[in-house]
């Protein structure tokens, strides 16, 4: 508890300056064991809980995906009933988006934003704990529906399919409450991130020196604050339509199903950037460290992040090209979608330029980052195809869209999540992950991913609709689908290797020390794992790469080049060197 500060015992040595004292009437003993987790308000513990919980959901969503692929492995397959199939793809999409990708960034953000900006914790630690528990509640409410009747309306739950006429079962309600609960969780989290980043940066850490990952978490938070309330409102209207007889989405009494689509996609498109921008941030941290070269175009990358977020709010109707809309509207949303490819391209060129002529260390985080660049690029290009509305009329609701969204979400978000995991695992646990297993996992995932999804472009071009439980044996459809299913199992094996790697590295991984990668940002300044208060001293920040400054300073003082010493001297000695007066 922060309020029980007792006077320092050694302060009698010299005349101590008067310290304000708070007399503790009762000192609570620190919790140990599992209670230390359920009662914690420490951002690092909450971050770990986020990461573990979301990874559990990732595995659940993955199993659902494999079942889907098994059903599709054969034409006219009867493995799953149509109803079960609908339930599975709904659970899969909802889980991956609302319970895995969005909250896992909150997990990384929780752990690393305070460390990267030199803060002791988040701005509102109790609300932070609440965010986590709301997420868990949302997940439980949603998954409880497997014991009665899971929803069958896809992650988009379009009206009128989601109305009580067509889906009277309470699965849709479970889905609605999931949106409410995870929405509140993310909203509180977003406000917390924003306040933390605005208020708690280390001395000298101006906006122009903010680590790029922190920039992306800031943008992620702004998008969440703007987009989430809209979906929360939309599902509330859906709930009253379903249970209180209102007619918001009911065209027979003056309502409008298009209203749902507009509200949903006004949230839905920013949501895809919510899922990818922090991944951009991870890559922007990883590449310069492993290319041993400063990031190329720091300002351009930071600015592109903000521009993408802004444009991301203006493109939502590219998901609605097939609805009756005036041509001028179609053209507007086509052009705005083209525009958003520009800042995205800026980032890709900056990343490539960062790698260019670098002294590249082929470690697992780098592999995942480079794999991301190539894969995401393909997804971005198919996105531009789909944004051309006449093309979209042909391709919408086919497997081509499925291919697009997985190239950007798996090749984009999941690969960067894995890059982040391998990059930051040593900081969180004090141990390295095994490189051999990491590389095996990467190659299996890369090959498995492209085997699964590249061929889905062809499936879509051949006209197979998405979200159907069976297909006839015409043309090459069955062959294509079989390739895709085989790929999905390779991909799953690759993910399994990383899970095993985490398990083994926790016990046997090589000891990491505070700064195993020679990182650039402040989280590498403290012990691994960091102590409860994060830092014993915080240096003054003088550039985008404070750790490089510190290492240089230490080297100049003739000390060992790396601060591989225990935290006390590691943190105080360089700081002494960094006093402006003692330079040189």
């Amino acid at each position: 508890m922060a309020t029980t500060e007792t006077p320092a015992p050694s302060s009698t040595a010299a005349a101590p300056p008067a310290l304000p004292q708070i007399v503790a009437h009762k000192v609570e003993r620190p919790n140990t064991g599992w209670t230390s987790w359920v009662t914690t308000t420490d951002h690092k513990k909450i971050g770990i809980m986020y990461l573990v919980l979301t990874f559990v959901f990732f595995i659940l969503g993955g199993v659902e995906a494999l079942l889907i692929r098994l059903q599709l492995a054969q034409a006219d397959n009867t493995l799953l009933s149509p109803q079960t199939y609908n339930e599975l793809f709904t659970m899969h999409g909802t889980t991956m988006i609302f319970l895995f990708v969005v909250p896992i960034w909150a997990g990384f953000g929780n752990y690393f934003v305070p460390l990267m900006i030199g803060a002791r914790d988040m701005a509102f630690p109790k609300l932070n704990a609440m965010s986590f528990w709301m997420l868990l509640m949302g997940g439980i409410v949603f998954y409880a529906s497997i014991f009665f009747s899971p929803p069958e309306c896809g992650w988009t739950c379009y009206s009128p399919l989601s109305s009580s006429n067509y889906l009277p079962t309470s699965g849709v309600d479970a889905w609605i409450f999931l949106i409410h609960l995870t929405g509140i969780s993310s909203l509180i989290g977003a406000i917390n991130f924003y306040a933390t980043i605005a208020n708690m940066r280390a001395p000298g850490l101006g906006w122009g020196r903010l680590p790029l990952f922190v920039w992306t978490i800031l943008t992620y938070s702004i998008l969440l604050i703007l987009a989430l309330p809209v979906i929360a409102a939309a599902v509330t209207l859906l709930l009253t339509d379903r249970h209180f007889g209102t007619h918001f989405y009911d065209p027979s009494s003056g309502g409008s199903p298009l209203l749902w689509q507009h509200l949903f996609w006004f949230f839905g498109h920013p949501e895809v950037y919510i899922m990818i921008l922090p991944g951009f941030g991870v890559v922007s941290e990883v590449l310069p460290v492993f290319a041993r070269k400063p990031i190329f175009g720091y300002k351009a990358i930071a600015a592109a992040t903000v521009v993408i977020a802004f444009l991301g709010l203006l493109v939502w109707a590219h998901h609605m090209f097939a609805t009756p809309s005036p041509t001028i509207v179609l053209v507007f949303f086509m052009m705005s979608s083209f525009l958003i490819a520009v800042p995205t391209g800026v980032k890709i060129f900056n990343w490539i330029a960062t790698l260019w002529r670098g002294t590249i260390e082929y470690k697992t985080p780098l592999l995942f980052s480079v794999g991301f660049i190539g894969t995401f690029l393909i997804g971005g290009i198919t996105g531009v195809f789909l944004a051309i509305f006449p093309v979209d009329w042909q391709l919408t609701d086919t497997y081509f869209v499925v291919a697009h969204l997985h190239y950007v979400l798996v090749g984009g978000s999941v690969f960067t999540i894995f890059a982040g995991l391998y990059y930051w695992f040593p900081k969180m646990t004090g141990r390295m992950m095994f490189e051999g297993l990491g590389k095996t996992s990467f190659w299996l995932m890369l090959v498995g991913f492209h085997t699964t999804f590249f061929v889905q472009h062809a499936i879509g071009l051949d006209g197979m609709p998405r979200r159907v439980y069976e297909y006839p044996d015409v043309g090459n459809l069955e062959l294509y689908n079989q390739i895709s299913t085989v790929g999905s199992f390779i991909l799953a094996t690759g993910i399994g290797v990383t899970v095993f790697n985490v398990y083994r590295s926790l016990k046997k991984g090589p000891i990491a020390g505070p700064d195993p990668w020679k990182g650039n940002t402040l989280e590498w300044y403290t012990q691994s794992p960091p102590p409860a208060n994060n830092f014993d001293s915080v240096p003054r920040i003088r550039s985008v790469e404070p750790m490089k400054d510190i290492r240089r300073q230490v080297a100049r003082q003739g000390e060992p080049a790396e601060p591989q010493v225990p935290i006390a001297s590691a943190s105080t000695a360089p700081e002494q060197g960094l006093q402006p007066s003692s330079g040189g």
Partner: protein, 204 residues
């Protein structure tokens, strides 16, 4: 940790524990949090207004629905009641800054009463208005928007209730009145939002 002391040099040897937290912004985190929360609230209202727009403008439905009437006048008086509660709240806020405890207590108490009156009048309006949210889409939107706003008034009243009780118990002072300031911002927001709701629903 003690090993650090000899090395610390310029470091304050008496300071144990984590370093002083650095404040990188002049805005209070609590104030910032409330402002961000209000932005999210504006987005909730915006979504409800989109529903209104779709049903009234895009769907070209009559407004108000055929055979129904909205009590513009009563709601207008109610608007005046709610707006004056913002004034009394402001009175309480300036009083506490000037060390005027009577003004603080009286201001908070009247604010609370005015807010509660607004809510009661609205409930009474629901009882007598003669259509239900299930009758037609216009009814759904009417109850949706006014109900959403009413829920905000209710939450605001809970917050103001706490502040009122605290001011009667002698909390808050010239220097320390953030606990009054931040719910106050919320209340002013709820009031301003009502002007928008009233104008769109009752007047145009």
């Amino acid at each position: 940790m003690d090993a650090a002391v000899p090395l610390a040099g310029a470091h304050d040897t008496h300071h144990h524990g984590p370093p002083e937290a650095n404040r990188s912004s002049r805005v209070d985190p609590q104030l910032l949090g409330m402002l961000l929360f209000i932005i999210s609230e504006i987005m909730v209202f915006a979504a409800f207004f989109t529903a209104y727009f779709f049903i009234r403008i895009v769907g070209e439905n009559e407004w108000p629905a055929r055979g129904t009437e909205l009590p513009v006048l009563v709601a207008g008086v109610n608007t005046a009641i709610l707006l004056s509660s913002s004034l009394t709240l402001h009175w309480a806020q300036t009083s506490v800054k000037n060390g005027n405890r009577f003004g603080l207590k009286a201001g908070m108490f009247t604010t609370f009463l005015l807010g509660a009156t607004f809510l009661l009048v609205q409930v009474n309006e629901y009882v007598h208005i003669g259509f239900s949210p299930a009758d037609h889409a216009q009814g759904s939107v009417f109850y949706g928007l006014t109900g959403l706003h009413g829920a905000h008034v209710f939450i605001g009243l809970l917050l103001l209730g706490v502040v009122t009780v605290r001011s009667f118990r002698g909390h808050f002072s010239k220097e320390e009145h953030r606990g009054l300031e931040i719910p106050g911002i919320y209340w002013h927001f709820v009031d301003v939002m009502w002007i928008v709701v009233y104008t769109t629903i009752y007047i145009i």
